[in-house]
């Protein structure tokens, strides 16, 4: 279908950011944040998502839940869930229960191009070390307000910038949990998440990260040639 697809890499980056970056003091606090990352086993929380689209006069708001552990997450959007996103090391699965439809994005077979750039960006930004993250992003600003640190980052890759102009990450400086994320897309759209009730290292049911799709679901692979 001949249409702009700037949303796809943007979304993926967004997803990873929301689980990967949870804030830091601009320097010391940032380092501390990395430290917490290293020791983190899991986290879970609620969120409110606000989508500001260029074709709508008012933003769209929806609520959801997220469960995360290293290399995997589950994202449920809408109550009841309209969309479920499951990520494991090999693939990303987007399920639309109401539509009985699922989209599969194998992460190990992404062709080179903007998508690959976006995913490379994600891998680099699931930071185990700060240097790796700074290799992919330029820090444009860091602002501390009410026990949160908000950093505005810009992808270094021009190709990635074609889709995502800026990424904003805010985290709580007291417990280093994520507070908010925002993606600013090249077409002017924005996607903002505010996180609440975040719990660190609580036990997470492994079943949450596996998908058992009913037989009547249609599964497609949009990236497949």
């Amino acid at each position: 279908m001949p249409f702009k697809n700037s949303w796809l890499p943007g979304f993926l980056i967004f997803l990873f950011f929301t689980v990967g970056l949870r804030g830091a003091d601009y320097d010391a606090q940032f380092n501390k944040w990395f430290e917490v990352q290293t020791n983190l086993q899991s986290w879970a929380g609620d969120f409110t998502q606000t989508r500001t689209l260029t074709v709508l006069n008012q933003p769209l708001v929806s609520h959801g839940k997220v469960w995360v552990k290293p290399g995997e997450f589950r994202w449920e959007l809408g109550q009841p869930a309209q969309t479920v996103v499951l990520r494991n090391p090999n693939q990303l699965l987007i399920i639309y229960p109401r539509l009985k439809r699922a989209e599969k994005y194998p992460l190990d077979a992404v062709p080179t191009g903007p998508m690959k750039d976006a995913l490379a960006l994600l891998d680099a930004s699931l930071p185990r070390d700060r240097a790796q993250m700074e290799k992919n992003f330029t820090l444009l600003s860091a602002v501390a307000t009410n026990a949160t640190l908000q950093m505005t980052l810009q992808p270094r890759s021009e190709a990635a910038r074609k889709f995502i102009g800026q990424v904003v990450i805010a985290f709580h400086t007291n417990d280093f949990t994520i507070a908010a994320t925002e993606m600013k897309f090249a077409d002017g759209s924005k996607l903002h998440n505010d996180f609440m009730n975040v719990v660190l290292n609580a036990p997470v049911d492994e079943k949450l990260f596996t998908a058992n799709l009913p037989a009547d679901f249609t599964v497609s692979e949009p990236l497949k040639k």
Partner: protein
Amino acid sequence: MSSFLKRWWWVLLLVAVALGLARLRFDVDVLDLLPPDEPTVQGLKLYQQHFTNARELIIALRAPDSETAEKLAGELAARLRQETNLVAELTWQPPWMEKPEQLGELLGWLWFNQPPGDFSALTNRLAPENLKPQLEETRELLATSMSPMDLARRSFDPFNLLTMPALAKFSGMNMDQGSQGFSSTDGKYRLLYLQSAVDLTSYRDCENWLKAIHMVVAKLQTGAAKENWKGVVVRYTGRPVFVQEIASSMQHDMSHSIGITSTIIAVLFWLTHRRLKPMLWLLALLGLILFATLALGALVLGTISVVALGFAAVLLGLAVDYAVVHYQEALAHPQMTVPEIRRAIAPSILWAAITTMSAFLVLNFGGLPGLGQLGSLVAIGIALSALVMVMIYLPPLFPDRCQPRPNQPPFRWWNYFIAPQEPAVAENASAKKPLSRLAFLLTGLIFLGACAVLSFHRPGLDHSGNALQPAHGEAQQTLDEMTAELGLPPQPLWLIVPGHDEAEVFQRLTSAEVLLDDAAKKNLIGKYLLPDALWPRGENQIANRTTAAALGEKAPLLRGALAEAGFNTNAMLLSEQMIRTWAQAGESKALIWPTNQVSQWLLKRFVARSPDECLVMGLVYPATNQVDAGELAALSKNLAQNHALLSGWELLGNATLKRVQSRMWLVVAPMVALVLLSLWFAFRRATEILLGLAVLGLSGVVLVATMALAGWSWNLMNLMALPLMLGTGVDYSIFIQLALRRHGGDLVAVRRSVGRALMLCGGTAVAGFGSLAMSSNLGMASLGKVCAVGIGANALISIFLLPAWWRLLVAKAESGKRKAEILETEAGKKNTQPKQPAFYSGGLWKLGLVAAKIIPTALLKKIAAGLADVYWLFQRRRCEVVVQNFLPVFAGDKSAAEKAARTAHRNFAEKLIDLWRVENGEVTRNWLTTDGELEIIHAARRRGRGTLFITLHLGNWEHGGLLLNQLGIRLTILTQAEPDDGLTDLRKAARARYGVDTLIIGDDGFAFVEVIKQLQAGGDMAVSLDRPPERGGVPVEFFEKQFEASLAAAELARASGCALVGVTIVRRPAGYAVKVLPEFVYDRKALGNRDARRELTQQILRAFEPEIRKDIGQWYQFTPIWPPEK
């Protein structure tokens, strides 16, 4: 030929050349090389004509990173767009990304083509009461969907108008389609599509336009921002580049192959003759011939294919031979004038030219028009070369030898075709040199070596169409790179469906889909993509007009609903355009197509239209990465029956190869017949014919082994080398064997004379064909290589090995024949008496015996009569001898003599079969005798003084021995040796089998003593009297004309006192009629006088005259019997 006529011909030739030059056009389309009625070819031509825009240039730009690639592609596009005199339109990113709203027209048009039921359902979807729920659903999707596709699409399509039946089958298309065709997935490789602002009809136009584009690009690359262009590669492809490349490679091919061949010719000529003037004159004439051939070719053939231009080098290599032979002859015979040389050489040149022309002309039967054109051009050139070299080459080189001698007989036109009699050459002493052991060693080594190679590896048959494609130049490389970089499936097949109008195309498209569906189910093909769902349907458009008009008025309603649902005007852009399209469609009166830039861009990928034709293209993907063209052949045929043409280079190669293979016999069979005929006319001896074939066979084995070693394979082009090798290769063995005959088997003399000339001729032919190896057309290059190796092997084997074989197998028989020729020469009759016919050889006689044994007599006699007719037609000189012999019998009536002579030839053919049957042991019993006449024989024998049966070469005289044997009489035949020693022995043994002895008289005087002794002992002997003896004949009157008669019968009568009985045996329908003449009575004493012996001889011959008159058609006199006129 009068000088006026000569001038008239030249003027005519010049006029033809001038007319040809005016018509001269070059065709750079390699597809014109192929059979136009082949569906695959038709499909490919339509594809190239309609779907690869003739004016579209594709610029490929590769940069180290995607940012640079995009930036520079944009800059380049902007710069080129400024050149409005060169560039009409430039697209460097998907037009729908720049103007997404333009997609609305195409989408609206697609809806308009849907079945009326689906289209009117849209009215319900857009009814006021349904708009709110629809937009609420869209908002929910935009709020919750994580699907990039859904989010992107529904933002601009809030009414979900993109969900339509026509697009259902495209729903699975991947998300990268958007940028496909413009950049690689990593973004480092980008494409720009340029439409020329100028007409690119000719290759000159293409060349100039491309030059201008290159200059603009080069300026940008070296301008202020040149640092940005470091490491950036810009390449070009598209039809203008292909045309320019093919045209320039044509020039390159022509200039290089002509240059190389001319240089080799000059070097070889210089090495052979070391004379500048004839070499330069030769090169000048060759240039003139090439030029005139091209012009005459254009006159005859019209447009000349670039592939056929390979003719030039081939022609040079072959045409030079005629000049070389002429020049060699002039040097070898300094006493001869130019007209005499022409008289001597022209026939062999003309016949050689006719053979070579035939070899090249049969290429027209090969199924490849381009190659046929090459063959025709070479044939025209060969004819021209023969004419030019015979008439023009020598005079300027030997100005003092140009005038004919005063007593020289006039030179008629047929003298160009009939060779003069060769002067006799005595047996050369050096011919007795020992056989060349080295030659046999080499023969063995070559044969075994080749067999060893072939036992491990044999050249395969290339079924692909590679041989038809031009060698990979920049245009093709860039295209290949594009295919790889853009991730396009390799080797798709195109399905081209032409039709007069949209309805016809749709109907054909639907039929094709059924066939393709079936093929996909059978796994013959992988998948296919037909734009049938997108194809306009006239009946739907007519039925949808009212609905379209109604939908065209919904814009305000939809705008209002969107605003109410919180959408802004951006969300309406696409829908607005669709509604506008429907409004226009509602007012349409005829079938409509979308018109804006985006629609045009998309549609021209698979649709082509002209006022009287519509074409649509689909893609068919093979089941595997290897196209099995054989399996697809049936599908292609079925599709073609439905006017859908399945095409692609892979398929094309196989289809064309099949055609070439099926027509191979049409090409090879005439050449084999021509070769056999040439060998037959040249030698008329089985051994030499077989040797000629052996040379061809061995050179074929060498060629195949070389191909195996070099890793070459047969393909649809180089298969055509077979007739060419047969046609040109056979000449070498003919020249060498004839020279061996002339020089009495003297290898040194043969190699020094003909061998040297053939080395030069072979070298130039190899150079001519070999230079094709550099052709930009792969098939032509392979044809050149195969011909060069085959003809080279043929020439070398003929020159260096064949003489040794000839000495081994032919020398013995040859020496016998040479003796006879020398005797004839001594008698001074060589120039007046033709040799015995060729069937007087042991080999052919044996063949005749076998044929008489296995083939039914009636059939064999019919065949023999037919051959006699052929002989009558083609051996006029020999047949004329018979006519002359018969003239006195008919008192000079030529017409009657000719009629009888022709009958005699047919009868003789039948008689030979009778004879072979008898010699095979068949018993003849159907004698037509009278007891009274037989009593003459018995009475003569009873006297006990021996009987000499006198007969003539009338009827089946040889049967006399058989008859007498059945009467209990053992006869001894007195005869000369046959021309072939083997035949003499053979016949002697055969006669012995049916109880007849043979006594060879020859020049042995003692043999007569033996004859007299036997007669005196009461023996029965037979002698023939109607041919003049070589020596000692006496003048008598025979049919009122002086005849040198043999006194043999009278001499024997005088010496022995034997009875002289005249007998004839002629064939009648009921059997063999035996006529016994009354015994010739003589006075033995009187025969002591020579005049009395002459008188007795006269009496005998006169007694036979009525018998001859009665059965003149069975009087077999094939050598002149009358003394030469004074």
